[in-house]
Symmetry: C2
Subunit: 317 residues, 2 copies
């Protein structure tokens, strides 16, 4: 199986109560790809500038990420984001955004990128998301977005949502997109547009999955599943947590043959949660870049123990 992701490949400047970095590798497609790389073959698509060096390509390739579709634009600057977080790490404050080469981006997928089994459209302008979707007939596709596009490009975003299988956004954005304050109703309204699944990201509270499959759970005939964020005593930088979640989620699904059975979707939610938790332990990509599959599986197992009612393992001394 193979996974294509389209989104920002960027540099970030971030300040939190626990430190700061003036310029570090970032961007949705980078965080997504690193997280997904533990589970499948992942191919990020997007433009970078001259400032994107061989060491950045090297970092991605060291994780087995396929980098041929990262397009270096001569004379251009990479996407740049500057932001900070205060006491409440759930809220990112944007101080500067420079689109750079992303301002002129006209996605044209390579044959290899088009041939992906799974496609993820990270948070970019929804017209671009639709152009990419039209080029890639992946059997399973997902989309992230943000409040900005709901405000200034809602019609295009609604069309894009209608063309994917799974929406993955913050819960406030699901409410905003549908104008429905109740999350269960809002998720159902999204599924009425086309997607068969909706993942509501909830920051430190974790994530919830709604599907329109006949299920045993909800009043409307669908299923519901939710996981808390993994409890951590040290959270240093939440930047990219949502993208790492999506990378773990779609990466695991693609890596397990695109099995969309409810049980596999729930395991994918678990791996998304685990990858997001490693992401926030250090700045930018620092923690995930040196992560190992064994650590991931250990934390997945701990998360499973933290969320089950019965059959608890013996306590340790």
């Amino acid at each position: 199986m193979a996974l294509t992701v389209v989104g920002s490949i960027a540099f970030d400047a971030v300040k939190t109560p626990f430190g700061e970095r003036e310029r570090m590798l970032g961007g949705a497609a980078v965080h997504f790809s690193l997280a997904a790389s533990f589970f499948t073959e992942v191919r990020p698509v997007g433009p970078v500038g001259d400032d994107f060096g061989d060491e950045h390509i090297g970092l991605l390739e060291s994780r087995g990420i396929l980098t041929e579709d990262i397009e270096r634009v001569e004379g251009g600057q990479s996407f740049f984001w500057r932001g900070h977080y205060d006491f409440d790490l759930n809220v990112a404050h944007t101080d500067d955004t420079q689109l750079g080469v992303f301002g002129e981006f006209e996605p044209k997928l390579s044959d290899a990128a088009k041939a992906a089994d799974t496609l993820f459209l990270a948070n970019i302008q929804p017209d671009l998301q639709r152009q990419v979707r039209a080029q890639c007939g992946a059997g399973f596709s997902g989309l992230d977005s943000m409040n900005l596009w709901i405000e200034i490009a809602k019609d295009s975003l609604l069309a894009a949502v209608g063309e994917v299988d799974c929406l993955v956004v913050n819960d406030a954005e699901i409410r905003m997109l549908t104008g429905e304050s109740n999350l269960a109703r809002a998720a159902r309204a999204v599924m009425d547009m086309g997607p068969r699944a909706v993942v509501a990201k909830r920051g430190e509270y974790g994530a919830a999955l709604f599907t329109s499959e006949p299920g045993t759970d909800t009043g409307d005939g669908g299923t519901f599943f939710a996981l808390p964020g993994f409890p951590l005593e040290d959270v240093r930088d939440p930047t990219g947590a949502g993208d790492s979640f999506a990378g773990g989620f779609f990466g695991y699904l693609d890596g397990t043959g695109g099995d969309l059975d409810e049980a596999n979707l729930r395991r994918a939610m678990g791996y998304g949660t685990v990858l997001a938790s490693f992401n926030v332990e250090e700045f930018g990509t620092e923690r995930v870049a040196r992560l190992g599959r064994e650590e991931i599986d250990e934390r997945f197992e701990a998360l499973r123990r933290m969320t089950q009612f019965e059959g608890l393992p013996a306590r340790r001394d």
Copy 2:
């Protein structure tokens, strides 16, 4: 087993986007007692005024609640709260509070109330909580509080927290009480004061349980468990949800013989979640007052299915 709860027995005026009520039975001890009544013998303690009629006593007694320790103060008025909720049902706006007979409350527990196996100190002035705690040697005790007492009576509240086994408050209040923004660290700081368990209520996001028991879960040697709020398409009035959660939680623990094993604590979290979910479906006590144990167990089972990774039941057609 027997459970004593001390707290407000009140009338509420509430307005939400889904309706309003000018005067309905409410108060923490009422919501708590109704929820706990499905699991054990519960005895609310607190003062009411002349306005508290036989029909209100009758409603409590119809659920088997022991009402002898509800003290009617001649010439007095019952505690009264007026509030409203806007689009975001997670935020209560208080418009009026009249302490009434609660302003003169000097708790003096009856022998029956003192003999309880389990004691819950609902949200009242922390000096009063300590007076009650000193009179009741219950083997398991819990305490709720609010931001007001953290602001104006912090020392007394910290002393009260140190005298109970389990703190049950909103997650923002755990942060505020400890001055620690990270919830896992904040919960540990509370447990360092005395309690062996901390329940963080999270509104629609559910609730999280931290214990200081040696566990398999967290880095600090304790255990962590979390449940989402039960997904509902119709939420009409969140007033009393936290008290219903606590009533389900402590009621279940007392009703199962005070078994504080991790698995039983987790089931208690589940019953707390279920009772809170019924509470919010209609105004005030309306839904819980006509609830049946079978409905509770059905929803508990649904919640269990919504939160487990494996062993999912067969789907329905």
